[in-house]
């Protein structure tokens, strides 16, 4: 089904309060019109923030985007053909309160799960797009998230369409226990198939990318990009502080920290991201191969 998710709405939709955590959500005063920047503390008009793709024009702070917002600013005209939209997790462990929590998150976010997958184009070039949404249970990976990612990558391998993935996740979904951990192996299998097919996979790490998602598909991209200031790491900061009993540097586990240590390819400001993805797709496109052959 072809969905014009954003065509009829203003391009970046109404600015919902940007925070993932309820505590921070309360800071957005008055709701919908103005937002306090979590980088510099300035009060930003929602309209101004929208114009800058939800980044602070003063300090460059990147506010988290919902999956629909991300799809809207990444694909041509926000046109998106969604895969597996009805797919959800079950409650394999009969974990106390989990089905209720899932239902509440679905209600709150309008999403069925913490990832949205599908197809669209960037400057006319097809991509399989995989977008996580940190509003939905911290973007945690349960069976449904793993399954949707695996299926999207398999379709991409079959159709030979490059994959662009936006990671935003707190890691594993505890409520699915060991089955959540096994999604790391499952998605790794899907990435292995992409590699075998020679289909490019571009991983974009956004705030936050942590835990089991960092330790699996998000770190397996042929090309790994990150948004400025994004928290990216494996273990939680507090656990590390408890383990080593010392204060961590301010830039610890940021995109900049990872770049410095050689873990990612590039940090890209959100305003440049679509254009850079377009260049990457162009370089990996069929026509680029033909140009190469012609000049040989």
């Amino acid at each position: 089904m072809l969905k014009d998710w954003f065509q009829k709405k203003p391009r970046y939709a109404t600015l919902s309060p940007p925070a993932a955590e309820p505590a921070e959500r309360r800071e957005a005063i008055p709701e919908g019109l103005m937002n306090k920047c979590r980088g510099c503390g300035d009060i930003l008009l929602s309209k101004e923030l929208e114009k800058h793709l939800k980044t602070c024009p003063r300090c460059g702070y990147h506010f988290p985007l919902s999956a629909p917002e991300r799809i809207g600013i990444t694909l041509d005209e926000g046109r998106f053909f969604e895969y597996d939209e009805g797919l959800t997790s079950l409650d394999p462990l009969s974990f106390p309160g989990y089905p209720e929590k899932l239902a509440r998150m679905q209600e709150e976010t309008g999403l069925r799960e913490a990832v949205v997958t599908g197809e669209g184009t960037i400057d006319g070039r097809p991509v399989v797009l995989i977008v996580m949404d940190s509003r939905f249970m911290m973007g945690s990976m349960g069976s449904a998230v793993g399954e949707k990612i695996a299926r999207a990558m398999e379709r991409a391998a079959d159709k030979r369409i490059p994959v662009v993935l936006f990671a935003a996740s707190g890691g594993a979904r505890m409520q699915e226990g060991i089955l959540s951990l096994m999604q790391m192996a499952k998605t790794s299998g899907a990435v292995a198939r992409l590699r075998e097919a020679g289909v490019p996979y571009i991983s974009v790490m956004t705030h936050p990318t942590t835990g089991g998602v960092t330790a699996s598909f998000a770190s397996q991209g042929d090309i790994i990009l990150a948004e400025p200031g994004a928290l990216i790491g494996f273990a939680g900061r507090r656990i590390i502080e408890q383990t080593i009993h010392q204060k961590l540097p301010d830039d610890f586990q940021t995109a900049e920290f990872l770049l410095k240590h050689g873990m990612i390819d590039r940090i890209v400001h959100r305003k440049d991201l679509r254009a850079e993805l377009s260049v990457i797709l162009q370089i990996h496109g069929e026509e680029a191969l033909h140009v190469g052959r012609a000049t040989l």
Binding site: D84, G86, L87, T88, S89, L90, P92, L93, F95, P96, G142, S143, A144, G146, E147, A150, A172, M174, E176, G177, I178, L179, S180, L181, M182, Q183, M184, A185, K186, S188, G189, V191, A192, R193, R195, G212, T214, A215, S216, F217, A218, S219, Q220, I232, G233, F234, A235, G236, I239, I240, T243, I244, Q246, L248, F252, Q253, F257, H261, G262, M263
Partner: protein
Amino acid sequence: MSGELPFEKPLVELERRIAELRRFMETEGIDLREEIARLEERAASLAREIYGNLTPYQKVQIARHPDRPTTLDYIRGCLDVFLEFHGDRCFGDDLAVVGGIGLLEGMPVTVVGHQRGRDTKENLMRNFGMPHPEGFRKALRLMKQAERFRRPVVCFIDTSGAYPGMTSEERGIGMAIAENLLAMIDLRTAVLCVVTGEGGSGGALALGVADRVYMLEHAVYSVISVEGAAALLWKDASQAPRAAESMRITAQDLLDLEVIDGVIPEPLGGAHKDPETVIRRVKEVLVRDLRELSEVSPDDLRSRRFEKYRKMGRVFEG
């Protein structure tokens, strides 16, 4: 008895009393055989009751028992010969992971595994069995080497998790685990895995993507430590026993969830009560499976392994 666990106390006290009576009988020359026999019977039934009804959290305690056999014990006990190899050829040699090559009933194998210490000194050297990236990269290097020479790989899992420290993050712990998962799912050689103690999260899975995965009877395997889960769910690490119940972390749970292929029974009270027996049982399983899998082509092994993990998880198509 050293290293007794809290729930073993009634049994330990009973055994102490029996020992006292024996001593008393010898020194004082009074016949207490009847009383001793009665108590011994009670001890045996108490042991069956305690060990036959272990709660998930009691299993966690057994899985972490310091006297439980470690990876090197299994290697020494199972292999005819073993050469330990060191280093990731990049940064260093992480002693929280051991690996090397050897012969198992005459069959060439590569073995890798987490290695924790028995005492404080050894644990400091082994970083309590919590690997840095270079540990996982050493394991990966040895697994790729095994693939080149068509040697099966045996992995022993025994870790509370990857090391959560600054040095780990600086050197890309997430990347290292991710690379291992990608390589292991794709390995064109047989991979067997035994969770011998605690299987903690991504640091365990980084050595755990295998054709067949076994757990010892009292081993546990979880996505997050029970203390970590309790802290997240109830903001209270002392709720670990409750978390252990909800998380489904025992060997029996994982067999039900079709995440593992079998459970290897332990002696009454746990592997540490009789290491020889449990090591022999592990060896029997490894030898049997290696013979079976040697009949399967490398490409079939790889595609079956892919299919196995592809099916994991429970979803609903709405």
